[in-house]
Symmetry: C2
Subunit: 336 residues, 2 copies
C-alpha cells in the first residue's frame, strides 16, 4: 500500500496539472488540462452576480498554489521606482469595488463554428460571467511606484505577468494600453475579492487583474509583476493569439504581426433559454447582453421572423453604474 | 427706386433667414431655410481635413450674426458660480487642439430610405466632415466657474444653449452626460477656430461646442450658455428628436420619452468613389470610416461578392491620436 501511494505521488508530481483545486460539478468542462470550463446556459441567467464556483474558468497553464504570506507583487518599468508589495500592502490601499462582466475572447465559438471552420475551444455561450470585484486600483499602485502619465509620456502599455508558468518557466502575460491602465475612470483593479469573498485559486488567488470592458485574456490571474513599458507584452497570448482579422483570413494565411491585440470587446447578446407560453403560444426568452468599453446596454431587440418584425425585451436587469463606466452585464427577458 | 429698395428691405426683415452668409456653390443643398447642405461624395475624400467652406452645414434655425466684442458666454448651474466670459476671456484659457470628425445623426439617411420609409432630410453620405478644432477646454471653463465633479456628485448633465432662436424666442439646446463633459480625456472644446481660422458664421462663430465622438446635434453652435444640471436639456432636439428605437417603431407608435438621447455615434464606413482599373478590371474604391466614442478604425474590409470573400483596404489615412481618444475620421483606399 505504501509503495502504491509513493508511486501515485511520484506520478502526480510529474504532472504539473496534478495539484488542481476542486471544481463545481455543474461546470461544463471543455478541456481538462489546462482546465477550461464554462457555466451551463441553462443556469447562466439565474443570478445577476454569477456565483464564483459556477463562473467560467479559462486557464492556459497549470493553476499555481500560492502562499499568501509569501506573496509578492513586483512593480516597475518606465517612470516607476521598483517596488514590491505584499498582499497586506495591497489591502492597505483604498478598497475599490466594481461590478464587471468578464468574457473569454472565444465565447460563443461553437455558434461561430456553424458559419466558419475555426480552431480553439468549443465555448458555447457560457464563457462569460458577472461578478462584484474588490481590490486596489491599478492607478493607486502605479502612483505608489511614483508613476505619473504627465511625467512619462513615452509610457504606452502596462504589462502584467502571472505566476503561472509553462514548462520552459515562462509566465502567462498580457498588456493593456496606458490610456486604460492610467485612467482613474478605467477602473482597473488588482482584485483580491470576488463577490465579497477572497478569490478562489481558479480565479487568481491571491490577486488578479480586472480590466473592466476588456477581453478576458488581459485580466491576468495570480499576478506577479506589473511593468509600465513603451511596448506591449511579448507573450504568446498578446502577440500570436487574441487578435482580430478580416473574414477571409484563415490559419494558412494569417500573419499575427499585422493585426492589433484585442482590448475592448464588442457587443454581444445571447439567448440562454426559450420556453413556450402554454396559454398564448408566445416564446418566452431570456439571456444576457453585454458590451465591452463600459458601454451600457440600452435595449435588447428580439425578432420571431428573421428580422421582419421586432419587439423589445420587456425586462433588463442591470447594475446602477452609468455609461461609459457600465462594466456589468445586462440580463434580459422578452416575449415574441 | 428708393421705394423699391425700401420694400425689398422691409420684406427681407420679415424673413428671419434673410441675413445668411454666402455659401460655397459646391455644397449640395438639402434645405434652403433653415440652411442644410452637405459635401458632395465626389470630393469628400479629397483632403483629410475637410475645408471649412465645404464642410456640411446642419442648422435648425436662422444663423445668428454675432458681434464678437459684445459676445458673452454665461456659465452656471449645479456646483457652479454664475460667471460670464467674453471671447477674450475664453482665448486666455489654455488653447487645446483636437482633430475630430463631426457627423449629423441623419447622415446616410437617403441610403437608409432604400430599406425603410423614413422622415427627415435626405442626407446622402456627405453630412460628415473632419476638421482641426482649437479652443478652450470645457473642463477648464467649468473649473473657472468653481465646478468640481467630486464636490457635486448630483451633477448629471452639461446643458448647452445656442444664440440661435426659434420664432417663440427659444434657443437651440442640447446636453451631454457629465461623464463626458467633466472628463479631461473627453476633449470637449469651446472652439473658436476650425482648421486654423476663426469659425465661420455657418459653423458657429464666435464659439461652438465640439463634443468629439458624439452626434452632431450636441455640438451646439453660437454657444450662449452652459449649465451643469441634474437633468438633460429640455429642448425639442434633446427630448423629441435624435433618439434611437427598435426597427419596428415608426412615426405612428413612437414614444420619445421611452428612449435615451443619442450621444456617441456608432461605427460607419462609406464608399465615396468607385472606378474600374482599365488594366486589371479591378474596382478601385475610396471612402471614409469613422466611429464615435474615440474608437480608432483598425481595418476596413471590402467584399466584391456580397460577403463571400473579403479583402482589406490597402491604405488608411488617420490622425496620430491614440484610441480611445481617436476622434478623427479615417480615409481609406482599396481594390477588389
Ligand atoms: Mo480568453
Ligand atoms: Mo444632426
Amino acid at each position: 500500500e505504501d509503495v502504491d501511494n509513493q508511486k501515485a505521488s511520484l506520478k502526480e508530481s510529474d504532472d504539473p496539472f496534478a495539484n488542481a483545486p476542486k471544481r463545481h460539478p455543474a461546470l461544463m468542462v471543455n478541456q481538462a488540462k489546462p482546465f477550461n470550463a464554462e457555466t451551463p446556459l441553462a443556469i447562466i441567467t439565474d443570478s445577476f452576480l454569477t456565483p464564483s464556483d459556477l463562473f467560467f474558468v479559462r486557464s492556459h497553464l497549470p493553476i499555481p498554489d500560492i502562499d499568501p504570506a509569501a506573496y509578492e507583487l513586483e512593480v516597475g518599468g518606465v517612470g516607476c521606482q521598483d517596488i514590491t508589495l505584499s498582499l497586506e500592502d495591497l489591502k492597505k490601499l483604498p478598497k475599490h469595488t466594481v461590478v464587471s462582466a468578464l468574457q473569454c475572447g472565444g465565447n460563443r465559438r461553437l455558434e461561430m463554428k456553424t458559419r466558419k471552420n475555426l480552431k480553439g475551444l468549443d465555448w458555447r455561450g457560457g464563457a462569460i460571467g458577472n461578478a462584484e470585484w474588490s481590490g486596489a486600483r491599478l492607478v493607486d499602485v502605479l502612483a505608489a511606484a511614483g508613476f505619473s502619465e504627465d511625467k512619462s509620456p513615452e509610457a504606452r502599455h502596462v504589462i502584467f505577468e502571472g505566476l503561472d508558468t509553462d514548462p520552459a518557466n515562462s509566465p502567462f502575460g498580457a498588456s493593456i494600453p496606458i490610456e486604460k491602465g492610467a485612467d482613474p475612470r478605467g477602473d482597473v483593479l488588482l482584485a483580491y475579492e470576488m463577490n465579497g469573498e477572497p478569490l478562489s485559486r481558479d480565479h487568481g488567488y491571491p490577486i488578479r487583474v480586472v480590466v473592466p470592458g476588456v477581453i478576458g485574456a488581459r485580466n491576468v490571474k495570480w499576478l506577479g509583476r506589473i511593468e509600465v513599458a513603451e511596448v506591449e507584452s511579448d507573450s504568446h497570448w498578446q502577440q500570436n493569439d487574441y487578435k482580430g482579422f478580416n473574414p477571409s483570413i484563415n490559419w494558412d494565411n494569417v500573419d499575427f504581426s499585422k493585426s492589433e491585440a484585442i482590448q475592448d470587446m464588442p457587443v454581444t447578446s445571447s439567448i440562454a433559454s426559450c420556453k413556450t407560453d402554454p396559454e398564448t403560444g408566445d416564446l418566452l426568452l431570456s439571456g444576457y447582453a453585454w458590451s465591452g468599453g463600459g458601454r451600457k446596454i440600452l435595449r435588447v431587440d428580439l425578432t420571431p421572423d428573421g428580422g421582419k418584425t421586432w419587439t423589445e425585451a420587456h425586462t433588463l436587469v442591470q447594475d446602477k453604474a452609468r455609461h461609459p463606466r457600465h462594466w456589468g452585464w445586462t440580463l434580459w427577458e422578452g416575449r415574441v
